[in-house]
């Protein structure tokens, strides 16, 4: 299914495969406001793909198009080479796409463990009735899923807050729990909406390391939006730069960094 002709091996030994998702001439309007204007780019298997841009550039809208939450008025989204019809969120999740949110969206009253377990929903096959009785299959299934979740808890080093209600956690940890929940779905494509927003330097470093490890250990394809240029340039394989709903750059961090349009968008340009 994948076109592997593009595949290559990165400097640090990861294999980047063919195109997983392709955006073709996407235009998204909210009434008269054009949020995204004629943007095309692709995401390849196993890569870390960043979308950056100044405030209001349309990054989050773009992520919502990728996740299927917004349906663009023009253009098409190809997933594994096939045109993707409008879908409900659970259908998107079943296709192997998981995401985190810019404004944390966890169940505040539930423990970290329970929150992460919700990420396994798509793997729970037993019905409501047998789950309530918790006999036989349901029990075995929960044990199985709990094991996956425990591995993720171990991976993200959140053992110490396993039983803590999410509401009691500081911001940086909540972000990590969100990542854990997304990972629990064992996604093929992970979408991260500003995973580092509002974090201090140390938390950012931790999060960067986790993102790299997720990509490396599980081979998860990651698309992320981020403000912090330094972090993005260190993390990503390729970067799309947006400004006022348009794509102004696309390429490796080095290419993007030297792109005059990008420099102008970020630093401003004198009009004389």
């Amino acid at each position: 299914m994948l076109d592997n002709s593009l595949s290559y091996v990165t400097d640090d030994g990861r294999t980047i495969g063919g195109v997983v998702m392709e955006m073709k001439n996407i235009t998204l309007r909210f009434g008269g406001v054009v949020a995204i204007q004629d943007i095309s780019f692709d995401i390849r298997e196993g890569e870390i793909r960043a979308i950056i841009g100044p405030n209001g550039a349309g990054k989050s809208s773009m992520l919502n198009v990728i996740s299927g939450f917004y349906v663009p008025q023009e253009g098409e989204v190809l997933f594994h080479g096939k045109k993707r019809p409008p879908m409900r969120p659970y259908e998107v999740a079943r296709q192997g796409i998981a995401r985190t949110f810019q404004n944390i969206a966890l169940f505040e009253g539930m423990s970290v463990l329970d929150n992460v377990m919700t990420g396994r929903l798509n793997y729970m096959k037993t019905g409501l009735f047998s789950q309530a009785l918790w006999k036989g299959k349901a029990e075995a299934e929960e044990t199985e899923n709990r094991e996956v979740v425990e591995r993720i808890i171990d991976f993200l080093e959140i053992q110490h807050i396993r039983k803590t209600p999410v509401a009691r956690l500081p911001y940086g940890l909540k972000k990590r729990v969100e990542l854990a929940r997304a990972l629990a779905a064992e996604p093929k494509l992970l979408l991260l909406d500003e995973p580092m927003a509002g974090m201090n330097v140390e938390e950012k470093e931790d999060m960067s390391r986790f993102i790299l490890d997720v990509n490396d250990e599980f081979g998860t394809t990651i698309a992320l939006i981020e403000h912090d240029m330094g972090v993005v340039m260190d993390l990503s394989d390729r970067v799309v730069v947006m400004d006022y709903g348009k794509k102004i750059g696309d390429g490796t961090p080095d290419e993007v960094r030297n792109n005059q349009d990008v420099i102008d968008a970020y630093l401003g340009v004198s009009h004389d």
Partner: protein, 657 residues
Amino acid sequence: MAQMQTGAQGMQSLPALLQRNAAQFANAPAYREKEFGIWQCWTWSETAKEIEALALGLINLGVKEGDFVAIIGRNRPYLYWSMVAAQAVGAVPVPLYQDAVAEEMAYVLGHCGARFVIVGDQEQADKVIEIQDQLHQFEHMIYLDPRGMRKYDHTQLHQFSHIQDQGRAAHDELIGELNKRQTKLDYDSTCVMLYTSGTTGKPKGVVLSNRNVVQSAKNSAEFDHLTQGENILSYLPMAWVGDFIFSIGQAYWCGFCVNCPESQDTMMTDLREIGPTYFFAPPRVFEGQLTNVMIRMEDAGALKRKMFHHFLAHAKKVGGDILDGRPVGLMDRLKYALGNVLVYGPLKDTLGYGRIRVGYTAGEAIGPEIFDFYRSLGINLKQLYGQTEATVFITVQPDGEVRADTVGVPAPEVEIKIDDSGEIHYRSPGTFVEYFNNPESTASTKDAEGWVATGDAGFFEEGSGHLRIIDRAKDVGKMADGSMFAPKYVENKLKFYPDILEAVLFGNGRDRCVAFINIDLTAVGNWAERNNIAYASYQELAGHPQVLESIRSHVTEVNKSVAEDPMLSGCQVHRFVVLHKELDADDGEMTRTRKVRRRIVEEKFDDIITALYDGSEQVSTVTEVTYEDGRKGSIKATLTIVDAEVKPGAVHKVAAE
């Protein structure tokens, strides 16, 4: 095994003890570790197999007799096995502090010339890789947790489980060699080499023989009647002699179970789940727990709070006496029993001390109130005095003779003498063999008859025969007027206040004393919250006028109590500053075991000390700080200097003579 014997004669090494345990306590738990939320368990016979596989793997990898094998990581069964496996193949295990930065590791690894390094995870592996060019003898590294390691160059790098697999595969071929090497081990062969963190100068490698370790473990286990049924929680640094003795020496001697926490942050939860019967912690752990309990009680309901304070007051009155077996009235006993059901029992359970039989604290002085708090609950908390060179034990407190201000009587088979200058010397079966590659230091520490100078000044109390420690001998000085300067004595008094984390006293050769103080962020932060005091950073909180005022009142109280001591009344604090940063091992201001490096602090904050003496009211300073990853930055601050009230030391001139 062929050379299996009964009695202590045959038990002259850790591998020999392991064989005995595997035969005698085959199905009893030897190690537990919480992983993936579940306590995983290994019995003694499983442990013996794991260690054998690893030992064979090490031989297969080329470990020779006499090689040094460095071990770096948090407390995990695998790393404890590594130490025993290293010994089994005739190599010398050298555990390192896992929070050491790369340069510190470079020194130690270079000094012992380690050919092999076993690390816990990527973080440690990266540090070794960073410095490996400086290490000429380094050959192979073995890592435990494969996470993040996949894309590393594996020519010199091996996964722990693969080494064990290779060992199992080569079993028939190499078992003869392993048995031959194990049989050679006796009381005189080296058991372990531990680097002392050293409050001054470079770390020194203390060589401990099997005699040191096995004999010390045996004596101390008999002293406290430790049995095979004990459970301990191993969470203190593996490079520290105490952990080596408790988690390996005594564990192998008695055959009890070593439990490893899931991660550093889960230690308190794991402690509660395991409920150790034998426990060791430095005073700061007990202090931290007590502070936590008190903070949480503030938030409890009125009834619970009242009950808590009522029964705690009763425990304070009679609890210690009941524990020590002194006569206590029937009514008091009944009330204590009721308190045990309602308050003490549940509290002990919450803290993880529900099953504790013997608890020890050492390393630093513990505040009498903290000490008495735990004892009054019925927890048999005791103190011991020891050092790496003694294989821990110099003095210990026997049951029923426990006090906060002494460190007990000489441990079994330990002889102690105090020289004219007041320095404590000892001689025991635990006395170390030598400092590795450092005959000068060995000679200056240990004399021909085997007496070791501790560097601590102290005296035996008349009547009880208990030892009391005054201070480090080299830190004890004289003030300008000739009276005694013993900084630790005053610092400990200051540190007993929950608000004060650390204090450093200056005044050697001067006419009066001044002090640096670090506030305790947990305690002071909580206080600030309850009093609606906003603060943005440690620095801001440390400089808050109300904080300074409350610290000043503590200093005044300490001065009052210091003034009562005729010998030390000159050590009262005249002026002090609350420092803008915590003293930190990463900045070299403290050792990894959290002891203040006085000289370095003195040099580094020279400008502040000058200001303390020249009468200025404020001082501006820039301090370099090192972040955890080794990068450097600096903090600027303007500190307010506070004058404290001083009591006239009436007898102070007389005492000086």
